[in-house]
Assembly symmetry: C2
Homo-oligomer: 437 residues x 2
């Protein structure tokens, strides 16, 4: 059967599975033995021709306008904004589209192209301000981009602060938790309104995109929360009716492709947003108020992140030479150990002692992701502590890395750096006086 | 109040919390302002003296024998073994005890000391064989220890194979998923009975230890499953009544301290074991039969793991020089990228091209833990693919690292290594012919 590009077909596969989707252009990446189709849920899939048992063309009855209506069914229930919201775009999937020629996702070329995909814009447009500050996929961000985003956020806040209720930063999801963490240690000292990072796992021109609903949820949160802080707003389930507001230092991308990829780690989400199907309304429930800056001492922290920190995940074959090499010319290392903060002490205790005796800073987090590290429970941990390793409690590795980049540029003495990193500044460390073994 | 070591007290803290526990010896690690107590649930905690509002001594009525009875309430319901089970001990918390002087956990000195802690031993002892092959905490294991454990397992199997139903390997939890993965690629080709790795998060001399119940669940699994394969058996909830049998290549330690720390990643657990409180019996339910070796081609794989592989977690500040340095003198690198398998291409695309052009192998997994990588979805991914990066689908980073260590020692040509690593050998890669975008 001769398949037409962009037409819809139903494919019955030999193993019994049936699939319905739109045929995509052949690319240089798929060979002649496979077809790429876009499923109704927005996924692209490749199917092998030899697995196909039967193909039927689908005559499409639904018009394009109706499709847009469908993706927009919750927009009419969004609440009128109490005051203005500033949306700053930095790029990422949320500001990108599918390139029909290759099937790949690329950056969108203009703000108009993006806004067009967000139907709520037309309802709220007199209250929404949209500015592009950067146009980059977040995997390419480096610590200097965190500086840039922080400075631009403060600059745009100054420009628009009259009657401003909150700021949304749209961002690629890959390193969004690194950026949210970087902003968390700076922004709440300077701005008294919430700053919410929002991404999407599917580009906003797809009917299945989570971009619209994530943005709507972030707007509803800003509308009902009058405190400060840096947050991440994303789907908390694969349905379109549940969203989590994560504290900026307690969140991590935990799945490469699902809509509910972001999870709060070692803490409750800051808030939950539910769309009530019966009442046709959004509900915001605050669960956790932990990320309010605790320490006024850091009011004048300067927006500068060091490139002299490395984040090193331990693995069983790690040799003494390897550890020495990764720390060469660097001032500090975050070691992502096993369990409660272990590395192979037979191989690495001596080089760690050497590093700390040379004045380098060695910190420990855990590669289990959940839970914390501890220097007391096992003898091997005590040996590491005695060698000068600083155990970072239940701080996430990525947050530890970001915080250390900031600390190196802000504090001169080793003791000051360690004091800052170990202090719970914005809720990134659990505040128990109880140490669990 | 003058507190006596090893005596039990109830502490009421200023913030309202009450705690009951046994006072531990002061160590050089806790200062004069805090007290370490062992709670009834086996946790050690440190409390600040200034937080204590009131202290009451508890007169202990329960005798030691009664305490042992209490921790043993499910033992009478364990089923009689159909045939023998061989338990090989390699060390770890499951074979360790609390040192009363310091409160730290140390390796136990003799097998008798360990067996004493497992009450089911007396019911099943004519069917259980116990041998110590190693006595090491698993954080110190290197790839050569995987070789040693694999060879010893085969050797002990030969010695005891008459009427043998399964093998249990007790192991420290920190790197248990690395070892289970290493054994998975070797053992099922040589042994037709199940091999189950079992650890514990609390040492077996504590009343709260999960060692006993994890071992009982592993024995019940072996008793009811007559296939082959390498598995991990651990608690699947914080209660004592639910256990997961994980496929050896689909499991990861996902919490540093909880009993239910081990989770199956990108797959269902192989089986679930439930203890039915009403019927007083164990139930084994097989959920997933995916880890049967698919490929007889690898029957004669040799038990040798290379030290020329590195596992490198990407972070935003990673420089060109850093990547070059970590790959120095190495043959292959597993890059743990962001999302679907990204790194900063502005900085790293050129050095990656250089590495692959020098004949080095560059593989990509994801630091999101859940989900897989993909070379098609984004333009940046395609650039990496074109630079020679091999994307490892939904294989876990740790498994990719272990498999590659094995592949380097077994295959000479680059193409053969890549073919092996990309092939689903024992269920470590999802077998869909559908590629999700």
């Amino acid at each position: 059967m001769d398949l037409k590009i962009k037409k819809k077909y139903r494919f019955r596969l030999k193993e019994g599975l049936s699939l319905e989707g739109r045929v995509m252009e052949k690319t240089k990446y798929n060979d002649n033995n496979s077809i790429i189709i876009k499923l109704n849920n927005g996924y692209n899939i490749a199917i092998n021709k030899e697995d196909i048992e039967e193909i039927k063309e689908i005559v499409e009855k639904i018009k394009k306008e109706e499709q847009i209506d469908e993706k927009d069914n919750k927009v009419e229930y969004i609440n009128e904004l109490k005051s203005k919201v500033l949306i700053l775009s930095t790029g990422g999937t949320i500001a990108s589209k599918v390139e029909y020629e290759t099937g790949a996702v690329v950056a969108a070329s203009s703000p108009e192209e993006i806004i067009e995909n967000f139907p709520f814009w037309y309802k709220l447009k007199n209250k929404l301000i949209y500015e592009t500050i950067l146009n980059e996929m977040s995997e390419n961000f480096i610590p200097q981009d965190w500086e840039f985003i922080a400075k631009k956020t403060l600059e745009k806040y100054e420009k628009h602060k009259n009657n401003l209720r909150g700021i949304i930063i749209t961002h690629g999801t890959d390193t969004m938790h690194y950026t949210s963490s970087a902003l968390s240690f700076i922004i709440p000292y300077k701005i008294n309104i919430p700053v919410v990072l929002v991404g999407s796992q599917r580009s906003s021109d797809r009917p299945s995109s989570d971009a619209i609903t994530n943005l709507m949820a972030a707007i509803e949160f800003i509308n009902s929360y009058s405190g400060k802080g840096v947050f991440v707003c994303m789907h908390s389930s694969i349905s379109d009716d549940e969203f989590d507001i994560h504290s900026g230092t307690r969140v991590r991308k935990m799945h490469s492709s699902r809509r509910d990829a972001f999870k709060s780690i070692n803490a409750l989400p800051f808030a939950k947003i539910l769309f009530d199907m019966n009442k046709k309304e959004f509900n915001v429930k605050i669960l956790n108020r932990n990320n309010i800056p605790l320490n006024n001492k850091y009011d004048d922290i300067s927006i500068k992140f060091s490139n002299d920190v490395v984040l090193v995940k331990y693995f069983p074959g790690m040799s003494r030479e390897y550890l020495e090499r990764v720390c060469e010319n660097k001032k500090a290392v975050v070691l992502e150990g096993t369990g409660l903060g272990h590395v192979n002490i037979k191989e690495l205790l001596e080089p760690i002692k050497k590093l700390t005796s040379e004045g380098k800073l060695v910190f420990m987090t855990t590669q289990t992701i959940y839970g914390g590290v501890h220097e007391y429970v096992y003898k091997n941990l005590r040996l590491l502590k005695d060698a000068g390793v600083v155990f970072l409690k239940d701080m996430i590795s990525e947050v530890a890395y970001v915080k250390l980049c900031l600390a190196l540029e802000n504090f001169g003495k080793k003791e000051e750096i360690v004091e800052y990193v170990l202090k719970n500044v914005v809720g990134e460390i659990s505040e128990d006086n109880i140490i669990y073994h």
